[in-house]
Symmetry: C2
Subunit: 361 residues, 2 copies
């Protein structure tokens, strides 16, 4: 029988995420409230939906493999050229692309223990070895991350900022100091999936000519297009040109390209989502506090509710699940005492708080 | 500066296809007739379009990473279980997945000289070495392909049946003999992208338990969903389980999944496309013959017009391009004397024949 590569053969059967659909199939009924994947309950720009519906009727034509219009629009917003932008089917696809471009068998990559599992998954899939650094004070520990990168001679370092699953945030100055502290030859993969929820002026100012950092963005969160699978990379020319030699050219489909372009051109929609998320965050934190539950600081579209012990968090997660609420619990210390809740619309938050009160009683 | 892997660094900057959009941007105007990518000019099932338009309005939710409904529907059609089916963003995505699962640096893969370039691209991207076997009598040379697989100890062999770009076809008995002639430990990647245009009874009967063959199918051709990016693999359980350890779980977006499912459930649409393609093929071949141009036999939605010499084919390609017709010419001998033309609707064929007559005069 044909055998797979030694790398593939040695990997465990695993999946970074079990989707809510699989959980629903196991339960035999749908969730009443879906707050576990940080999807935007504010939906998608009506202009984007219209563009996608139009594109769906022309789906017999291949999508543009260069994603020219969308990349041009993105590049213009960041003061770069399309040679600074690559598209992918979400950040996951782009993390895989960069793992394929930078990780050979046995190469090291560094991330936070309990951070985004798909980064570890794509590195392992290329035969790389993942080193993990614990969170400190419920935030990514930048000093320890840089020290570990030196210690193991890391080729890639992963940092999500704002962070998932904690919701925490490193200032522009902290990120700049972290970049300066990384060893030469180490590439920082800076996952800014939640950047839409932070004022642009507060984001780290990273030059598109800086060859030490690659930034990842997505239409999944603020733009409300998680199901469409559109992400992009902002990077120095050479970090676009090299992955270009191995990337899949048709991974972002025609409907997704049309929707993302229309959503970018509808900034007032995104601004309204961000405003509503800010108000929702305040209400969710206050509502939980009224039930005796504190929250971790967040600059994202989710909040970690702090149940103080892993056992209590598990029990609340289970009680919420029984009541039809899909949320997730970070799996590793110290955040495993928390339950992560997406910030929905006012009616979603009120419903969640009512069910939480029930689950706690 | 962070350096890419030796494999990525050594690769040339290349792209398997320059899309028609890029050609249009270079020309400064759109093509009048798009017959170069074997897209279906018969469009997409109205039921699929409706399903996609509905799904586009719910795109803020992630797609099902397991593709459960679509895989279930596909499996049922082939008498298998969902453990025999993997989805991908088109066959390209799935070829990459199998290259990643089976090709380590230096491993050999065998294909036809002038065959589907993306297969070579994904193998090279994993550090594999591609061996090519010339066509014989304008068809894939199965004997030579099997002999080369033995000679180089190939891990993968690629066969498109029906073939692209020739349009030719190997019978079920020929494919069965070819499978039997391959060396042990060599996996056959059987690309059946054009299988919808062949009566099911004439396709090779390959058991879903056979660990020596993996079949690739797509919604791009007969189903008219090229822009949506949906392909699938039919294979023995172990060839689904191993790639599952390294595949991207969210590569087929929610709109694409919904459209493919609806299209599968609309078999009369596909049957009408196949019928119209059969009639169109006859008309295109006759019309070309009336202009003194013979055609290669085809069981696909395209026909290779035979201009006898490479120089003449190039000149016709160029003359067609100047007149706004997007078609492609195979790049390698012996098919480089041909121009490949997608079979469109009756009006597309008549327009093409009028422009061809002009181009020839």
């Amino acid at each position: 029988m044909p055998n797979p590569t030694p790398i593939a053969a040695a990997l465990p059967s695993t999946t970074p995420f079990v989707g809510p659909e699989a959980l629903e199939r196991a339960m035999g009924q749908p969730f009443a409230l879906r707050l576990g994947a940080n999807e935007s309950l504010f939906g998608t720009s009506p202009l984007a939906i219209a563009a996608m519906q139009e594109a769906a009727a022309r789906g017999h034509f291949y999508c543009d493999p260069e994603g020219f219009e969308l990349r041009t629009e993105i590049a213009a917003r960041f003061g770069g050229s399309i040679a600074n932008v690559t598209l992918g089917a979400g950040i996951d696809d782009l993390l895989l692309l960069f793992a394929r471009a930078f990780i050979s068998s046995g190469d090291r990559a560094v991330t936070s223990l309990g951070g985004y599992p798909t980064f570890e998954y794509v590195v392992a899939g290329c035969g790389g070895l993942v080193e993990r650094v614990a969170y400190r004070d419920d935030r990514v520990d930048l000093d320890a991350l840089a020290a570990k990168a030196h210690e193991v001679g890391a080729r890639l370092v992963y940092l999500a900022n704002p962070d998932n699953p904690s919701g925490s945030w490193q200032t522009a100055a902290e990120v700049a100091a972290f970049c300066a502290a990384l060893p030469p030859g180490c590439l920082l993969l800076l996952d800014e999936a939640y950047a839409d929820f932070v004022p642009a002026a507060e984001l780290p100012a990273i030059s598109l000519d800086d060859p030490a950092v690659v930034r990842f963005r997505t239409f999944s969160k603020g733009h409300g297009m998680a199901g469409l699978r559109v992400g992009y990379v902002l990077a120095a020319n050479e970090h676009i040109a090299t992955p270009e030699k191995i990337r899949l050219h048709f991974s972002v489909n025609s409907v997704a390209q049309a929707g993302a372009l229309a959503s970018l051109r509808d900034p007032s929609f995104l601004a309204a989502v961000v405003d509503a998320t800010d108000s929702g965050r305040i209400r969710l934190v206050e509502g939980a506090k009224a039930l005796g539950i504190s929250s971790l600081p967040s600059r994202t579209n989710f909040v970690c509710l702090d149940f103080e012990t892993r056992a209590r968090a598990e029990s609340v997660l289970s009680a919420l699940g029984e009541r039809g609420v899909f949320v997730r619990k970070p799996g590793r210390e110290p955040l495993d005492r928390c339950v992560r809740v997406t910030i929905g619309r006012p009616q979603d938050i009120e419903l969640f708080l009512r069910i939480l009160a029930e689950a706690l009683s």
